[in-house]
Subunit: 408 residues, 2 copies
Amino acid sequence: MKAEILSIGTELLLGQITDTNAAWLAEQLPTLGIDLFFISQVGDNRSRLTEVLRTAWNRSDLIICTGGLGPTEDDLTREALSDLLGETMVVQAELEKNLREFFSRRNVRMPERNLKQASLIPSAQAVENPIGTAPGWWIEKEGRVILAMPGVPHEMKNMWQTQAVPRLRNRLPGEVILSKTLKVLGKGESIIEEMVGEMLSSTTPTLATYAKPDGVHLRLTAKAQDELTARGHIFQAELELRALLGTLIYGVDEETVEGVIGEMLQDRGLTLAVMEAGTGGLLAAMLSDAPSSPEFFRGGLVSQQRAMLSQWGIDRELMEMHNIMSREVVEAMATAARQAMGAEAGLAICASAGPDDFEGQTAGHIFMAVDLDGTIKSTDAFYRTKPPEVKRMAVTVALNLLRRALLK
Amino acid sequence: MKAEILSIGTELLLGQITDTNAAWLAEQLPTLGIDLFFISQVGDNRSRLTEVLRTAWNRSDLIICTGGLGPTEDDLTREALSDLLGETMVVQAELEKNLREFFSRRNVRMPERNLKQASLIPSAQAVENPIGTAPGWWIEKEGRVILAMPGVPHEMKNMWQTQAVPRLRNRLPGEVILSKTLKVLGKGESIIEEMVGEMLSSTTPTLATYAKPDGVHLRLTAKAQDELTARGHIFQAELELRALLGTLIYGVDEETVEGVIGEMLQDRGLTLAVMEAGTGGLLAAMLSDAPSSPEFFRGGLVSQQRAMLSQWGIDRELMEMHNIMSREVVEAMATAARQAMGAEAGLAICASAGPDDFEGQTAGHIFMAVDLDGTIKSTDAFYRTKPPEVKRMAVTVALNLLRRALLK
C-alpha cells in the first residue's frame, strides 16, 4: 500500500506553524506496514488543493489529508475532494443532529456556517470525531482510499488511533507487523547508537532510534506471517537491548517517566512533594500527568524569589552563602519540600533557564536534588540552548534522578 | 514569482525528523514578496525525486530544494536535476580544488565519493558553501530558477542568507509584503469570523484566522509597491478590527497573554501569586514564561489534596460543604494565594481535568477565580476533551479572567 500525506493550510506555507502532523503520521505508518512515498503541504486554495489531490490520486493507494475541515471559508478540503471525484456534497441529517448536540451541550449557539461540517459526498463515510466538531471523511473509490482528518493535532491523533487504524488494518494483507518502543534516559542518541551497535542494521526486527523530549526511543519493528513469530522476533531483540542498556531503559511504548515513577512510589507506599525555582511549575505539571498522581503526588511549591523560598523553609544564610542556584540550596529545597508537605520523597530543581543569567548562574546551568527518606542525591548539568528547552531538560534530568534513587 | 519547496530525505518520510527547513524558508519568502504555493517532502529515490521535480517545474517559477547534496549513494538531488533537465554532470576543476582544500585544511583525506560534490550540469552555477563540503546549485533555464541547498540546517540558512537572497532580489520586482497578527481571547474562531464579517474576503490587506492554543489569531497581509503603502493598508485594517473586537484583542504578533499580563501588573506595581488544583503547575509554568516574571510573579502552590489546600489556608468546612471543585473553593484559593505570598493579585484554578471525575465533579468541568486587592471574580467552564487539553483551556481561561480584571 503506497501512501502519501497532504497537510493542508496556508499557515504551513507562511512558516507560521511547522508540520508536526505529517511527521507524527510518518512515524505511525511503518507500524502498519504502509510505505510512505510523499508528503506535501498546500495552502487553503481550492484549485491548488484539487490539483495536489489529483497528483496524489494518480500515484498513491492511500492519501491521508489533515486540515481544512473547519467551518470557515478557508476550510476547503471537502470542496476539493468533491471537485476531484466529481461528486456533490449533501448535508446529512444524522451528522447535523450530532453537530447541533455538540454545541448545545456547551450551551453555545451553532454558527450556521458550521453546517458544512455535517456534509458528505456519496463515496465518503463520516469518521467519528468525539472531541471536535469536524467529522473526518473516509473515501473508498477505484481501489484507492482517501482519509481526511482535522488539522488540530489532538483531534487528528485521536481520530487516527481510534478510527483510522482499525479501518486500515482491515484492508491490509495477512502480514502481521508488530512494533515495540523501548525508552531510554541518561545518555544521548549517538552514545545509545554506539552501545546498540550492529543491531541498527538488523532486519528482523528492524531497529530505529528517535531523539525525543522524554529521552531516546528505540523502536523495534517485526514483520511476519503470524503474530507469534513477529512477537518472538521482538522479544528476542528486546532481551538483547536490555542486556546492552540495563536500567537506562525506563519504560516501553506508552509508558512515561512520570508514570513509571508513580508506580515505583506506589509500590513502596511513598508520596512525593516538589519545590522548583526556575522551571516555574513544569516539574509539578509533569508529575500531575501521571495516571496515579492523585495517590502519590502531594503537591508543589513554585517560586524563584528568595522571600518565598525562605518562607517555605530554606535558610536565608544558606541562600546568601551559596546563592539559590547551587547544589547546597537545591538539596535544602528537596528536604524542605518533603518536610513541608509530609511526604517521604522530595524532589527539587533550581534552574538558571535564561535568556539572562539568574542569581549569578550562567543561563543554562541547572541543579537537581532528591531527598528520599533523608538520603540526599544531587546533580547539576549545563544546556546551552533556549529557556523552554533548558526547563524541559531540567525536569527530565530531575525525574531521572528520582527514578534512579528509587531503583536502589 | 510562484515558489515551491522540496525537502529531500527518506528520514522525513519515516518521521525521524520534522521538516523545520521548509518552515524556516516559508517564513523567509514573504519578506521577499515571493508567494509560496507548495511544499513537498520526498525520499532518497532517484525516480520519485525526478517525478516530484518535474511536477514542480511545470507549476512553479522558483523551486527551492534542500537535502540530497551529500557525498553518499543516497544523495541524489544532483542526479535527479540532471535527469529532469536532460543534462550531464561534469566534475569542475575549480570546485574539485576547493573541495580538496576543504579536506586538507582539516587534515583529512578526501573520500573519492565526495568528488561528485564538485560536479555541475551546464545550466547550473555553483553556490558557495563556506561552512560545508557541498556547494549549492543555482539553475536558470526557460524562465525558471532552481536552487538546491544542503539539508543541514545551519549550512542551508547560511547559504540562503548570504548567497540566495542577493541573487533572488536581483530578479524580483519592487513589491513589498507585510503582515501583522492580532490575537484574541474570549470567543471561538467561528464567532470571531462572524464578528469580522466581510473583512475576511478583503484583498488589501487579506485577513486569515487561525485557532491556536493561545486564542484566535487574525493575520493581516498586505502587498504593495512600497513599504509605506503596505503599512498604511495594515494600519487601516487593524483600526477596523479593533473597533469590531475591542478588548477581546489582547496582543499583536509575538506578544503572549502571559507577557501582556506581566506588563499590566508591572505598570500598576502589582505582584501575582497563584494556587492550582488539577492543572498541576501549568498556570505557574505559563506565568514563569513571561519575560518580566521574576519581577511580578511571587510563586505558585500546586496540589489537589485537601490536606495541602487546608495547610495553605483553605477552610476545611468550606471544602466539605462545597467540594474542592466549586466556585466557593476556587475563590477562597485565589484569596489564600494572594495572602500567603503577600501579593496584590491572586489567581486560582480548580480543574476536574479527567479522565475520571474528580471530587464529585464531571471530568472537564473547570473553575477559575481572581482576587485583585480583595475584589473577587470567578467563572466556570466545561470542556469535553482530553486531560492535557482541559488543563490548557483552564489556564487560558484563567489568564484571560485576570487580564479582564486588570482592564477595569
